[in-house]
């Protein structure tokens, strides 16, 4: 839903780094987005293609690395990945403990760009 505004943000970051690096064209944009984000990659790519027209990022390929939603178990201190949309209520897979808490899954950044 908010992919347009997010894509504007991505393009701004990409163009700034491309200019600083003296790039004439951006070939690939690699993003790292946590599993807690609802962003649709298909729409990110479409909006990027549209917003990037006429810039050095025109035609760049968008690659999204989805990082997992990770929880830590309080009692046994081990971490594990969870797909929240299918998990329902999830105890620790190692010890069955229910005292688990979120560790990561909110990453939201441009990792690197490939340029010529």
């Amino acid at each position: 839903m908010h992919e347009l505004a997010v894509t504007e943000g991505i393009l701004a970051v990409v163009l700034r780094h491309a200019a600083a690096g003296g790039a004439s064209r951006v070939v690939t944009v690699r993003l790292r987005i946590g599993g807690l984000s609802d962003l649709s990659e298909e729409w990110l790519a479409r909006y990027f293609a549209w917003l990037g027209r006429g810039t050095v990022a025109e035609g760049a390929r968008i690659e999204v690395e989805r990082t997992p939603v990770v929880f830590r178990c309080g009692p046994c201190d081990r971490t594990f990945d969870v797909d929240l949309r299918t998990a329902g209520d999830f105890p620790c897979p190692f010890c069955g403990g229910k005292d688990v808490s979120l560790v990561s899954g909110r990453e939201f950044f441009v990792r690197e760009i490939e340029v010529v």
């Binding site: 839903m1 908010h2 347009l4 505004a5 997010v6 943000g9 991505i10 701004a12 970051v13 990409v14 780094h17 491309a18 690096g21 790039a23 070939v27 993003l31 987005i33 807690l36 984000s37 609802d38 939603v69 929880f71 929240l84 949309r85 998990a87 329902g88 209520d89 229910k98 688990v100 808490s101 979120l102 899954g105 909110r106 939201f108 950044f109 441009v110 990792r111 690197e112 760009i113 490939e114 340029v115 010529v116």
Partner: protein
């Protein structure tokens, strides 16, 4: 053959928004203004909670209201009818408030004569979670008819809020909402979040919410 170079970026996607949000937070801190960002899905009771909160705190604080809406003035008119300054942000196509929009709206208020700004975000549990608005605290409302499974479906929203209001508790008998299960689901995502079951209709539970907000305002001033 062109040589492809790799540029390491490692920068947040919404860094522009984050920078503006930081500026807003700093300005508000300096002026002693508390900005509450209130989020929920449409119909969960943002405007009702806002009006109830306004009435409970208007004698203690100088309050203003910011209303975010896609394209209407209805909510701002309700707030203005309460006799407090109200600014409507019409976001057009945007499904959330972002920091530049909030900065502009704050510019229309007299912050030197304001203690508390109650801000109603656009009704939506997805997009507002991604955009920092420069708020002092984030609160969300989930209403009983929406169901206790929502932390599993909108985990980002539940993971960022300082307070989670469960509204329409007067409807409990009609729905299979398990408050204990809900508390456990929120706690996993966000152990620091406080949960406030209440009914804007009957007023039940409002006092705990108001006490939390008063305490949060006091804490923000002492920093």
């Amino acid at each position: 053959m062109e040589n492809i170079r790799l540029i390491e970026v490692r920068e947040e996607i919404l860094s522009d928004n984050r920078d503006v949000a930081r500026e807003i937070r700093e300005t508000l801190r300096r002026k002693g203004v508390f900005l509450l960002n209130l989020m929920s899905s449409p119909g969960a009771g943002k405007t009702s909670l806002l009006i109830r909160t306004l009435r409970a705190l208007r004698d203690a604080f100088r309050i203003a209201v910011i209303e975010g809406d896609i394209d209407s003035m209805v909510d701002a008119e309700k707030a203005a009818a309460e006799g407090v300054p109200a600014v409507q942000i019409r976001t057009g196509s945007a499904c959330h408030l972002d920091a530049p929009m909030v900065e502009k709206a704050l510019g229309e208020l007299d912050l030197d004569r304001t203690d508390l700004v109650l801000m109603e975000n656009v009704g939506n549990l997805v997009c507002p979670a991604e955009f920092d608005t420069g708020d002092t605290r984030k609160a969300m409302i989930l209403s009983v008819p929406e169901g206790d499974d929502k932390p599993l479906k909108y985990p980002l929203m539940f993971s960022i809020c300082h307070a989670v209001v469960v509204n329409k508790t007067d409807c409990f008998p009609m729905f299979d909402f398990d408050l204990d299960v809900f508390r456990e689901r929120v706690r996993k995502l966000n152990p620091g979040a406080e949960i406030f079951p209440l009914s804007c209709k009957t007023g039940e539970g409002m006092d705990r919410w108001i006490a939390w907000l008063e305490k949060a305002i006091a804490e923000s001033r002492s920093r």
